[in-house]
Amino acid sequence: MKAKTFLYFTKEASIGLSRNGLMSLAAVTTVAFSLIILGCFFIVITNCIHFAEMAKGVLELKVYLKENVDPAPLQAAISEFKGVEEVRFVSKEEGAEWLEKSLGVKNLFVTADNPLPDTLDIRLDPKVNVKKLVKQLDSLDGIDEVAYGKTFVEAMLIIIQIIGVLGICLITIIGLVVLYIIVNTIRLTVLARWKEIEIMKLVGATDWFIRWPFMLEGIFIGVCGTIISLLLLTKGYHLLYAYIKEAAPFIPVLSEKIVNYRMFWLITMVGVAFGAVGSTWSIKKFLRV
C-alpha cells in the first residue's frame, strides 16, 4: 500500500467518523457498555476460579503410620512428591493432646492406652492431582492408611472443574453477544453510507480500498470503547476490592494487579478485534455490487 493511499484512508476514516458524529458516539457508547458487561463477568468468573483454587489449597491429607515405624525417612520421601508443600510429623502423644484440647477434657487416655497412630500431616499445593498423590502414598511401606475427606475433596474438584468450564462457556457466550452488538452498531454507521460504497464499486474501487477506511473507523470505535470500559472497570474493581477487604476480609479476592492485567488484554483484544471484524462484516453485504 502506498503511503499516500494510507493517508487517504485515515483521512476518509476521520471524515466518516466526524460527519457521522452522533452515530459514532452511539457506537462507542454501545461498545463500551458491552465491554463493561464482559469485564464484569470476567471479574466474577476469575474470582470464582481463584476462590475454588484457594479452597483446594487448604486441603490437607493425613497419613496414619503403622505401629513403631520410623517417620523420618517417610517424611523425607513424601516431601519429594509432586504437589506436596509441607510434611509435618504429629506423634500419637501430640495427637492425644490436640484431641483433648479440642474436646475440652483432660487425661482422656489415662485409663486406656493411647489408641491414636503416629501421623504425617501433608499440606498440599493448590494445583495438586490428589488421586495420583494418594496412589503414590498408598504404595509406600509403613503406611496404614491415607485419610482425606474423600467425598469432600472429590466434590470440591468437580465443583472447581464445573466453575472453570462454566466460566469459559459464559465468557464465550457473552463474547459472542458483544460481537453481535458491536457488529450491529457498526452496521448502522455503515448503512448510512451504502450509497457511497455503491458508487465506489461502480467507479472501479477494489474491495480492500473500500474496506480500509471502514475498518479503521471500526478499530477506532473499538479503541475508544476499550479505553472507556477499562477506566470504569479498573476503578470499579478498585472500589470493590477495597470494600471486600474491609467488610469481608476472609473472602480471597484476586489482587487488582492481576485482574487489571488480565482484563486489559481481554478487553483490548476483544474491543479492537471486534471493532475491525465488525466493520468488515458490516460492509460485506454492500460490497456485492
Binding site: K4, I199, L202, A205, T206
Partner: protein, 226 residues
Amino acid sequence: MIQFQRVSKTYSNKTIALTGIDLFIEKGEFVFLVGPSGAGKTTFIKLVIRRELPTEGQVLIGRKNLSLMKNHEIPIFRRNIGVIFQDYKLLPNKTVFENVAFALEVIEASRKDVLKQVPAVLELVGLKDKAKVFPTELSGGEQQRVSLARAIVNRPLLLLADEPTGNLDPDTSWGIMDLLMEINKRGTTIVMATHNKNIVDRMRRRVVALENGQIVRDEQKGVYDI
C-alpha cells in the same frame, strides 16, 4: 465492443428481465436503448458493467467474457466504463470537485493527475465555477453534468447512460446530449437508455428497442417509435 450472445436474465425472484438477446455494438458507436419501463434496459446496463451475470448466454466486452471474469478483475474492468445514472448518484457530503476526483482517487491516481484532469473535465461540462459547491446547491441539470464529468474523467472506452435526461427539462437535456456527442466524437462508445422520444428522433442514431425483455427492433439512424 459489446457483444451479447443469446443472453437471458432471470432474477432470483423469478422475474424474467431479458430473453435471448443477440446484439453487437461496435467501437465508437452511439446507441439508443429504448422501450417502456420494465423492458429490460436497466438490466442490460447492469449486465454490461457486470453488476449482474446472465442466467444464460454470454456477455463479451472487448474480448472479455464477463461470466468468466474473476472477482478481483471486476474493479479493473469497471475502470474502463463510465456510468451516468438518472438519479445522478452524487455524494452529498462531497463538493463537485471531490465528487469528480473520487473516481480518480479510488483508482489511486496521483495528486498531479487529479489536479490536472478534474478541472479539465469540469471545464468541458461547463461547471468550472462550481467546483467548490455541494451537489445540493446545484440544479438537476448541473448535477447530471457532474455525474457525467465523473463518468468520463478517467477517459473510459465505454460510456453507459441510464436515462440521463430523465429528470431534466428539454433545454438542459440538449445540453447533456451535446456533451455526449462531443465525447462520442472523441472515440468513446456510448449506450444510452432513454424514454426521450424527442431526442432519439432528432439525433437519428442506431436505435435498439426492447420490449418484454426482447429486442423488437434494431435499426441504424432509427427513431423512437415505428
